[in-house]
Amino acid sequence: AGAAEDKTLDVRFYDDPAGFDPANIFRIENENIAFNVFSGLTTYDGKTGAIVPDLAESWENKDNTTWTFHLRKGVQWQKGYGEFTAADVLYSYKRILDPATASPYIAELTGIETMEAPDPYTVVIKLKQPNGGFLHTVANYHQGQIVKKEAIEAAGDQVRWQPVGTGPYYLESIDVNSRIVLKRHKGYYKGPAPIETLDFHIIKDDATAAIALRNGEIDLLMRQNKEEQLQILKDAGFKMNHVDNYAATLKVMNLSDPILKDVRVRQAIAYAIDYPAITAAIAPSLQAPAYSIMMPWMEVFAKDAPRYEYDPEKAKQLLTEAGYPDGFTLKALNTSAQGVTEQQQFEIDYLSQVGIKMELELVDTPTYNQRRNKGEFMTATRLLPAINPDMILFSYLHPDNRSPKGLNGAQYDNPELTATIEAARAEADPEKRMELYAKAQTIAMTDLPYVPSTANNVYWPSKTNVTGVNINYLAQVNFWEVDE
């Protein structure tokens, strides 16, 4: 904090930065930087999570196939790269699509058939197939973030460290070991942000981070993942900025497993564990029970998809029907990064009461990822970043995306569901689309290739004088709104 003009906000950053090139950015903390440096055609509203205009002032679409975006005029690039135009949009998307870029997000844009810029402020995109969720694709997230050709070329192989965007903040300096400094972009199209400098300090340990906040060294904690520390901070009167249900944790059931391929077994597992009780006991702030692979705040969320309330008797009955009256051994692949969580310990407890012996296979993160991606597990877990429902349904349930190729780790293949989501994607009528999505959710929650366990809440505790910390459903904060 300082004089009105050169206010500085000290923010905790919780891991080593990995770079901010939209083409290959990953992990939430990096995405948060990129989110404030870049803009997309659309973006997410911090409070509601709804898609709102960003660089595109408005748009229209025909059959979910031809999308026309009308760009904002007079938007200035950071660092003197001039005005933003439609050419930048085309360049950015083509860059992702260029195999030489080797962007992992290429698949998001392969649905594009043609892109055109009839004039500097209009972009017309034609899709190969209708896609009702296309506004998510061009949002300020990963592939949707617009870069400047000249800046990219100037950076050479250091693009990830020299991001130039049109967002409210630009990257002033970075010390990959300890610190990232963002400065406000004076020419931001919505006007300069209230805070001059965002000083991100890398503090990995949650307990240390809490102490730093209490010590006054830090104004805002990007994430605090320890329930006990949240409790302390809450009691000490800090502001508990948070977003609930930002993502769901799923138990991935590998359907190629001889036991798990029986749907009754999967349902039994869902009945056997009392997630509401678990979350209330161990992490009332950080977790909530999840009942679906969609989050309740999503437009497409189907309220009447099947739910599995805690019912051990039912679980036992289902197991008996499936031929496992004495239970079986469930091997759960997990990362060792957090050790065995309390949640897992409770799961073991609950499952054992219906006779299922859950055994944890803990391996370190790279190993875990590798095995999970190859499908070498019985069950594993996945955190669904919940923003584009269509993308979620396709990547997790569509047979084309079965692992190791895609994210469908359950190896799930139900033609009925496949047809439903394909139809939904193509459907132009919003109401019918919703119906189709609801049907898909019902099928998915009946078949249970993924058992939803908990929904995660994200906390960014801050000093009381810090305002405007609105965490969106991608766990990102638009610092343009933040003030102190």
């Binding site: 009780a277 060792s336 065995v340 409770f346 073991i348 370190d364």
Partner: protein
């Protein structure tokens, strides 16, 4: 010859041969060893018979008794899942002691074999082995731990291996230096004059005379292993919970220090007690061995 015959009290030879137990008797007479045993024996008894104690199981959660301070019902209090920390500590002692013991044993055996060979034969064998030892010494132990956990998954074995691998070079060096100095002892020469085999020399003359010093090192290594396991747990590389190794208990409770000090402090105190008594034990062995301290 002027000789007055005066009956002298006959010197009686003790027929029971106590000298065989001499070492153990002297060890038990040592004050530090007594102190160590006074701590270790009750702890071991408690852990062994913990199942008959009127306490909850170490994994039993109780959502109605979460984060309770120490009381008569829960001697060490409970943690956030309502588990009885006393019971977990007892179970943890078993795991941690096993880790300590396994590490000590492994280091001892490898150190003994390799160190004896290197020290006894010297020359090329020695140089090769010492280079390998050097390589392992220069290799950060943490890296070994991560590697082992990646290959073998988490569990007792990789933890034990990871800790031993960094202890082993030290044991090898210790044993080697002792073997080196022993091999020129006259008694080895005496055995050589009758063409005793190398195996004979090593097993009869070198090992029996170094084993005690190695035991001293081993008991310290055991204490150390318990601590290292705690550190590995902190980094997510130790023995995985819910198995309540003492390291896990401390790690679990570490961030509750302000709200519930007992969760980490009490198991920590137990580690301290065990480690100190292991040190006492080693000191005791050392004292008993050291001829200078035999007054």
């Amino acid at each position: 010859m002027a000789h007055f015959s005066i009956p002298l009290p006959a010197r009686r030879t003790v027929s029971i041969d106590l000298s065989r137990f001499n070492g153990i008797v002297r060890l038990l007479a040592n004050r530090r060893v007594q102190l160590a045993l006074m701590i270790l024996v009750p702890i071991l008894l408690l852990t062994t018979f913990r199942s008959v104690l009127p306490i909850a199981g170490p994994l039993e959660t109780n959502l109605r008794a979460m984060t309770k301070a120490p009381s008569l019902e829960h001697l060490f209090g409970t943690d956030r899942m309502g588990r009885d920390i006393f019971s977990r500590t007892l179970a943890g002692i078993q795991i941690s002691m096993f880790v300590g013991f396994a590490v000590a044993l492994l280091s001892l055996i490898v150190g003994l074999v390799v160190g004896t060979l290197a020290g006894f034969f010297g020359g090329a064998i020695d140089r090769v082995m010492m280079t390998i030892t050097d390589i392992f010494l220069a290799f950060p132990s943490l890296l070994l731990a991560i590697g082992l956990v990646s290959v073998m998954g988490t569990g007792m074995l990789p933890v034990v291996l990871a800790i031993s691998l960094s202890d082993v070079p030290r044991f090898i060096r210790l044993q080697r230096s002792m073997a080196l100095s022993l091999r020129s002892r006259a008694y080895i020469d005496a055995a050589r004059t009758v063409k005793a085999s190398h195996l004979w020399l090593m097993t009869r003359h070198i090992v029996p005379n170094t084993i005690a010093s190695l035991l001293v090192a081993a008991s310290i290594a055991a204490a150390n292993a318990i601590l290292v396991e705690a550190g590995l747990s902190f980094l997510g590389l130790g023995i995985m919970p819910p198995a309540p190794s003492l390291g896990n208990l401390i790690r679990d409770g570490q961030s509750y220090l302000e709200q519930a000090w007992w969760i980490s402090t009490l198991p920590g105190a137990v580690i301290l007690l065990i480690a100190i008594s292991l040190h006492f034990l080693s000191d005791g062995i050392r004292q008993v061995l050291d001829p200078r301290s035999r007054k």
